[in-house]
Symmetry: C2
Subunit: 193 residues, 2 copies
């Protein structure tokens, strides 16, 4: 079996996540990640092909967690709850929220993604798109361009806009914005819920 590992993959991923959240992606050097858990830099490369691959794992892990809950709400027709999922999730997971909402994917992972990670990311994206289209179809009776744009605005763009300013300031989004998101949702989706 060989020597027992002192460190796990997830330890490296979580260390990178922590540093990225606290000091930004540029501070996530291979040396810093290793230092964070007391490992040698060589061990990073033993587990990950490159720094980029490590950070891509960070990205996918967070996006998958965020999106899963969002999609479940959507599938159950709970559009307003889905819109409110963003501020709630940001309050509960400030570090993760910083990473995927404050930084662009390309800022975190500069180079190309390896094929397997790329297909996992694409799969996430596809499931999100599908979920939104299905919800738009259910909400409006049809899902043409206009209905889809409208739905994305209410479910994604507005909650994101409401939250991002606070994330930049390192503050938790205050309660009021849930009310603003709700009012917007009602006006845009012409829904009462």
């Amino acid at each position: 079996m060989g020597r027992l590992a002192r460190f796990t993959n997830d330890q490296f991923i979580d260390a990178a996540m922590k540093i990225a959240a606290e000091e930004g992606p540029a501070a996530v050097t291979v040396a810093a990640v290793a230092r964070e858990i007391g490992a040698p830099v060589g061990s990073v490369y033993h587990r990950f092909l490159s720094r980029d691959v490590l950070l891509a794992e960070v990205w996918i892990k967070i996006v998958a967690a965020f999106q899963e809950a969002f999609l479940i709400l959507l599938e159950n027709g709970k559009g307003l709850e889905a819109a409110l999922h963003t501020p709630r999730w940001v309050r509960q997971h400030p570090a993760e929220a910083r990473i995927i909402l404050l930084y662009r994917r390309e800022e975190l992972v500069a180079g190309d993604w390896p094929a397997d990670l790329k297909s996992r990311a694409l799969d996430l994206k596809r499931r999100l798109d599908d979920g939104i289209v299905a919800f738009a179809a259910a909400a409006f009776g049809r899902a043409g361009r206009e209905e889809i744009e409208r739905t994305v605005f209410a479910l994604v763009d507005v909650p994101y806009g409401a939250v991002i300013r606070y994330i930049r300031q390192g503050r938790k989004p205050p309660r009021e914005i849930d009310g603003f998101i709700r009012q917007t949702y009602t006006a845009i989706m012409r829904a009462e819920e």
Copy 2:
């Protein structure tokens, strides 16, 4: 008087702006800026203390231009027009919009700003804040925390959220979003205009 300059400050600023918009801040190396206009790298340092200072100039130049028009609308009580200024400006100035809306200030300018640039940036920020508070006071009869949050949401956060997804994709924001922003503005500000 000395030798006539082959290049102007603005040529360097515009070159940096172009590269940042097209390839992102990381591509704005001193060598790339110099190459863009056929200047030697030394000339960059003849005019700017550092790469950071050059990029800070880029930032301030764009923010000032964007904000000026926004504030004039606000001062004239045209809240809805101010909210719609964002998508309109993004359509007219796609390169500038990319730089100040897609990238964070710290991503463009990594280090500390020199005192004079810092105070110019602070001044811009203050004038924006003051304009918004004044507008909130006029719109609601008072400008407490809730009224200010509500106003920023309708005037800043929602337009930003509506626009940013298209900027990421390198597309012009479609016309529909102006309608969404208008509906949101009406619902949130309880205004007809």
